[in-house]
Subunit: 157 residues, 2 copies
Amino acid sequence: MSIIAQGATIPAADVKENAPDSTSPLELKGKNVLIGVPGAFTTPCNGHLPEFIAKYDEFKAKGVNNVYVFAVNDTFVTKAWKEFLAPEGTGVRFIADDQGKFVSSLGLQLDATGLLGGLRSKRWAIIADDDKVSKIFVEDAPPNVTVTAAGALLKEL
Amino acid sequence: MSIIAQGATIPAADVKENAPDSTSPLELKGKNVLIGVPGAFTTPCNGHLPEFIAKYDEFKAKGVNNVYVFAVNDTFVTKAWKEFLAPEGTGVRFIADDQGKFVSSLGLQLDATGLLGGLRSKRWAIIADDDKVSKIFVEDAPPNVTVTAAGALLKEL
């Protein structure tokens, strides 16, 4: 399917955050920022996310309820990655889209079989108002961090 | 396919260890120990491997050339996991069977779609003489660490 468009409705999803065997509905009330990344612990993603962690309070100050990071990794890996990136904790929420269903429902899946073994996510960012796509940014190449950088998104809020 | 049997030949494989875009033939000369685990950073696997790291010299003293750990994870994750488990380094070699081809060639794949999102590895250990299976041990349930524990394997060498 094609990439979800501005104005479209983000499909309802049950997501995993803290445990491999429990899901909860993705909450999208008010303003939220959603980020998708190709892979936990990859070099570009290790470079991408610290700015979100460092500037989390700036997102909150702009009325953002949650900053969600989606990776097609399991919960053990996303939790270890979160602890690696933010050993003192962060409000940024790491979501394990372990089967890639959510990113695929947005048309933002990435075939990374060659480098990472299977289906992953493109690098993208969505500013959502409730469950509607207010703005969407997708990197031309997954390693790039330009339009999806925290600083760039803060200017769009 | 069924699980590889004692005496059978381990299929030749090109494996990834240090980089996502380079493979090298798995070296199986003389005596080697091969371990398969369901997932990097999972609780049981975090408990399973430290004993191999701690007792690595005992394996070497028994004439083992390499202790290989196979996980169906990408190289970024296996490398991060190795650094997490052995921050000061280890001779244990972590192999990223990112597509699960090698464990599947042994009949040791595990459908972990529910908890981990896709195909993974059972928990198993093989003592190999050259490319022949000298002894093979497979846990009845993947979280268990009994017949595949480092101490148990050292007694089999």
